[in-house]
């Protein structure tokens, strides 16, 4: 199976439910193929490619589609059912990089003091403490736990700097879910996800989505905070060489802080998720 054939077996976000507009067609691309999104709501939305209708489902405030007749199921986010959370679709950021590079960057914490200076990190608090990464065999997901990091402004709801706890799930090659300390509700964790729409192997549309406990910030402020973070990330992602993710060891040199990235690359390789990956050097 080629990397493309493998990638075609997953569901991908192609629009926000909130942006659907009756009578308007949104033309976009998925895995190098032109597609069209039509309809005005969850009931009427359709996605088609070359005149053929594709399967559609609406989840997590987005429209998802797949090229497969027998796709892997869309991953579950149980927190999307929890009452009291605010669900925040953050819009889209176009990035000229491999969709896999976008996910890997989302799993990386060591860059916070340098790329998100004064917000998600700050010198001299640069140390990445030992954390754990495993493959969750039951769900076949990459799972990283016990991550702690000093953050000056961990979220819109944080008052001053805190040591934040992070947990990451990678439920699909082009999606990642972050659970992090929720400043106003210490017994719970905020959820921030990165849903990636692969335009082609070296271009992606990134759809951040959040499920937060925050009753005070305005929607615009929450979205603005997340957009700022992703635009900062884009300045890195569009300057990494090569644009595809080197999936085999040897081309790039990781360190202990990159345990999640190392596990992610191995997991991609094991399942043949080569779309957007640089295979042989």
């Amino acid at each position: 199976m080629t990397g493309l054939e493998h990638a075609q077996k997953y569901w991908y976000p192609v629009a926000m439910l909130g942006e659907l507009n009756d009578g308007q067609t949104k033309n976009t691309q998925l895995l190098g193929t032109e597609i069209s999104v039509c309809g005005s709501n969850e009931e009427s939305v359709t996605v088609s490619s070359a005149g053929q209708l594709l399967a559609v489902q609406c989840q997590y405030d987005h429209v998802w589609t797949t090229f497969s007749d027998d796709p892997y199921p869309l991953f579950a986010i149980p927190e999307a059912e929890e009452p009291g959370r605010r669900f925040v679709p953050c819009g889209v950021v176009r990035v000229s990089c491999s969709p896999l590079r976008a996910v890997e960057n989302f799993l990386d914490i060591a860059h916070f003091p340098f790329v998100h200076t004064g917000v998600l990190g700050a010198e001299p608090h640069t140390e990445v403490y030992k954390y754990d990464v495993q493959i969750d065999e039951k769900h076949d997901e990459v799972f990283a736990t016990n991550i702690r990091f000093f953050q000056p402004q961990a979220s819109k709801s944080a008052e001053g700097s805190i040591e934040t706890e992070y947990i990451y799930r990678v439920p699909a090659p082009m999606a990642a879910i972050l659970y992090k300390t929720c400043p106003p509700k210490p017994e719970a964790m905020d959820v921030i996800t990165l849903f990636v729409q692969p335009i082609d192997e070296e271009t992606c549309d990134v759809w951040p989505w959040m499920a937060l406990y925050d009753d005070t910030s305005t929607m615009a402020d929450l979205i603005q905070f997340q957009q700022l973070i992703f635009v900062q990330d884009r300045s890195i992602l569009e300057n990494q060489l090569p644009r595809k993710l080197p999936i085999d060891p040897g081309h790039e040199i990781p360190t202990k802080a990159d345990l999640t990235s190392i596990a992610y690359r191995r997991w991609l390789k094991k399942r043949g998720a080569y779309y957007g990956a640089l295979e042989k050097i």
């Binding site: 340098f114 790329v115 010198e123 640069t126 890195i236 040199i253 360190t255």
Partner: protein, 232 residues
């Protein structure tokens, strides 16, 4: 491989970083706080980030992504995520030979940099990128020099006989300006302009403007020659 002029030394101050290209080689050129200049492959060995986006601290260049610090020998000596760790000596970007001479930064990507010989008493004026190939740029400069009697006497000398360094005499027939060509990509030409130290400030401004007009003319010629003939 030849030695190429990639920039004016005066445009790279201490603590500065710039990007240059020679063919397919993408490079970061940087100057330490004490003035040491280095030219490296433009890729951090850790996660591939372009080092030309990095920042200089003391005698180190730090990558913009994770702050890995490299010393002037290109050895990584500090990884902020693990402050106590002594990084393996294998972590280093590829380095290129670089020298400064006559106000120019010279780089050779496949050997020792050996700068061309230039006339004396030249000072760096400016670097300009033109969206055209090298021969279009050279022809535009030569023909423009012949029609500006206020600045030049029209004589154009090919200093190293391969059209990559031209000298244009001033109206008295003596030393005028010197133009060094570099072609980082097929459709793009960089020129570094040096001017004799006897020019007045106003004359230098006039030469600088003349360079701009030549760039526009070269790009116009390039665009019109690229126009596709309409299908019949």
């Amino acid at each position: 491989m030849t030695t190429e002029p990639i920039g004016l030394a005066q445009d790279l101050a201490p603590k500065g970083v710039m990007r240059a290209q020679i063919g397919h080689a993408d490079m970061a050129i940087w100057r330490s706080t004490s003035g040491v200049i280095s030219a490296w492959e433009n890729r951090c060995p850790h996660r591939g980030m372009r080092l030309s986006h990095g920042f200089v601290r003391g005698e180190s260049l730090a990558c913009a992504y994770h702050g890995w610090h490299y010393d002037c020998d290109a050895k990584c000596h500090y990884i902020p995520a693990h402050p106590e760790l002594e990084p393996p000596s294998t972590i280093r970007p590829a380095i290129y030979s670089v020298v400064e001479k006559a106000g120019i930064i010279w780089v050779n990507t496949a050997g020792t940099a050996t700068p061309a010989e230039l006339p004396d008493r030249l000072l760096g004026l400016r670097t300009i990128t033109m969206q055209c190939d090298l021969s279009t740029a050279a022809h535009a400069i030569a023909s423009a020099a012949q029609t500006n009697a206020a600045l030049f006497n029209g004589s154009v000398n090919d200093i190293n006989s391969d059209q990559t360094i031209l000298s244009l005499a001033n109206p008295n027939g003596t030393d005028g300006i010197c133009i060094l060509f570099q072609q980082p990509l097929a459709q793009s030409t960089v020129i570094h302009v040096l001017a004799h130290d006897s020019y007045s400030q106003n004359e230098l401004i006039a030469i600088s403007r003349w360079c701009e007009s030549v760039r526009r003319e070269a790009e116009r010629i390039m665009q019109s020659s690229n126009k596709v003939e309409p299908a019949k």
